[in-house]
């Protein structure tokens, strides 16, 4: 009897493509929601990304009752409490998050408070605390990378106790994710590149780490193919709506993949580097990906070699001997990073970031060793291993 076992869960309705935003009123009405609140940040509003969302709702006679546009990059328990207060005072009955990871995580936490009651979001921290569905909740991502629209996790900082509170429950998943190419059309090149590489890393780690499964594999490989085919086209022509949509879809698919199969050492190192050196998450992912794949290579030779088909296409895959495909996959990722460096100077080494000093590597390695993602890395990582990967990624 096979020892294989896996779980896969994604109940999020994905609404993707041209005029996707215009489906929001119908979808809300299907959940008997008539008083939505938008949760977003100042950057999204300044970029004019709320306008098509509001217009789509108003045109259908749906009034956006309240807009909270002051979500900070690292959201806190106080912000969540404030937004929940506005939601209650305005008698809203649903939430639409418009933004990146922070706005989406904040909205997930707000949804807990307004559905379960109380003002102390910390009381709901942890896994499996929530026992029933929350209020209607839609997500409109404005970056193509985090995949937060399909993950059952939110992280909120408790600034008084100086800890990050994790929330895990399938009830945090939105009812619908609306993927509209208009939302990512104006993303600056370096953010486009970093977030796409974030999605690439989600998919690559989902496909090569310990909890991979046939369903997450299907999403991961499809996401890698879309990113490989579309990222450089978007970098050449940022207004290319078709390829923008491909990247946005890839991000959601990579999110579905990694939320069902977890990630590994790239994320462990990236989380640690982000916390210690304040580097953006997507940039860390792009930076560490090839070095970690090289470190893991003997444990993941087969799946990594398989990825060559999606990274470089069938001709290259067929022309490459099976024994060399894993190395060829890493080379393809390196070539993509080199091209992005040419386009927008997306750093390929820690030194190129200009924000990390060599003395910090030891601390990064120590913190990475305690990161939850390391559990799912196919190779057991020691402190010396982590330091060795960091030294290779240094310059």
């Amino acid at each position: 009897m096979s020892n294989k076992y896996y779980e896969f869960f994604c109940p999020v309705k994905v609404i993707a493509g041209k005029a996707a935003l215009e489906h929001i009123p119908y979808e809300l009405s299907g959940m008997a929601a008539t008083r939505p609140m938008i949760v977003t940040d100042k950057g999204v509003r300044a970029a004019g990304l709320l306008d098509p969302v509001i217009a789509a709702c108003e045109e259908s006679g749906l009034e956006i009752v309240s807009i909270y546009d002051d979500v900070p990059p690292d959201s806190s328990t106080a912000v969540v409490r404030d937004i929940a207060g506005v939601y209650r005072s305005e008698k809203c009955d649903s939430i639409i998050a418009v933004g990146g990871g922070s706005a989406i995580d904040t909205a997930k936490a707000v949804n807990i408070l307004v559905s379960e009651g109380g003002d102390d979001i910390a009381a709901y921290a942890g896994a499996g605390v929530l026992k029933r569905p929350l209020k209607p909740f839609f997500v409109v991502p404005t970056t193509a990378g985090t995949g937060s629209e399909v993950t059952a996790v939110a992280v909120i900082a408790d600034t008084e106790k100086h800890v990050k509170l994790p929330f895990t429950s399938s009830f945090l998943l939105p009812n619908a994710a609306i993927i509209d190419p208009r939302m990512t059309l104006t993303l600056p090149p370096h953010i486009t590149a970093a977030t796409a590489m974030d999605a690439m890393t989600h998919a690559t780690e989902a496909f090569t780490c310990m909890a991979k499964n046939p369903l997450s594999d299907a999403y991961a490989t499809a996401a890698i193919k879309k990113i490989s085919n579309s990222l450089l086209a978007v970098m050449d022509n940022p207004k290319d709506a078709d390829n923008r949509l491909e990247l946005a879809e890839a991000s959601t698919m990579a999110g579905i993949a990694f939320s069902n199969s977890m990630v590994g050492l790239v994320h462990a190192l990236g989380h640690a580097t982000g916390a210690i050196c304040q580097l953006p998450h997507g940039l860390c992912m792009s930076l560490y990906l090839p070095y970690v794949l090289e470190y893991n290579i003997e444990s993941i030779r087969e799946p990594l070699g398989e990825l060559l088909l999606y990274l470089d296409g069938p001709e290259v895959y067929a022309a490459t001997p099976a024994s060399r495909r894993a190395e060829a996959s890493i080379s393809a990722i390196r070539r993509m990073r080199d091209a992005l460096y040419k386009h927008c100077k997306l750093p390929r080494t820690l030194k190129e970031t200009g924000k990390v000093v060599e003395e910090q590597l030891e601390r990064i390695a120590e913190v990475a060793l305690d990161d939850g993602a390391i559990m799912f890395n196919p190779k057991e990582v020691t402190l010396e291993d982590a330091k060795a990967v960091l030294r290779r990624a240094w310059a």
Binding site: Y5, A127, M210, E380
Partner: protein, 181 residues
């Protein structure tokens, strides 16, 4: 027909095995923290008074150890003196049996969603490292390879035998003390 009759006995045997293994592991955790510097280093990052629990859901067997300072653990049996800080919970006794009979590695059990972590994930990772180190010491290499993600390359036979002997001696003494008490 025979299978149906045997099944309750098999379930009972499984339950007893898991209970016994929790008792051995709890005592062995205390012992290894008195013997091994690497374990002490890992454990010393935990807050003093930190209570760690491994249990079978919903209210099955459990083991509870406390970090009493300087990287040392104290085994509390199956009842905690106060609410635990970190709990690793097997969803079913069958899953606990798979791990404790070394048919499934701890890391694989995590990847297979056999267990839930209630508490700080970074402490859970630390405790898993300690458990892996313990298993590498006390199990024959062939069995340990089935239990841990990677058998430590720098753990050589003399160190393994010496440490294992000291751990087993301490576990046996602890069992005797418990019986006497």
């Amino acid at each position: 027909m025979i299978a149906k009759r045997i099944q309750p006995m098999a379930f009972q045997a499984r339950r007893l095995y898991v209970e016994l293994m929790f008792q051995v592991m709890g005592r062995a955790l205390q012992a290894v923290s008195e013997v091994d510097a690497t374990v002490q280093k890992d454990a010393s990052a935990l807050p003093e008074g930190f209570l760690f629990e491994m249990m079978v859901m919903p209210q099955g067997s459990s083991l509870i150890v406390e970090h009493v300072g300087n990287g040392r653990f104290h085994y509390h049996g199956n009842s905690a003196p106060r609410p635990v800080d970190l709990s690793i919970q097997f969803k079913h006794i069958a899953h606990a049996f798979l791990v404790l009979s070394f048919q499934e590695k701890t890391s694989v059990a995590f990847a297979n969603d056999r267990m839930l972590v209630d508490g700080d994930i970074s402490y859970a990772i630390r405790m898993t490292r300690v458990l892996n180190r313990l298993e590498s010491f006390i199990l024959p290499k062939l069995v340990a390879k089935r239990a841990v993600k990677e058998y430590p390359a720098n753990l050589h036979l003399p160190e393994k035998l010496m440490s294992a002997a000291r751990i087993y001696l301490k576990v046996a003494s602890n069992f005797v003390e418990t019986v006497r008490a």
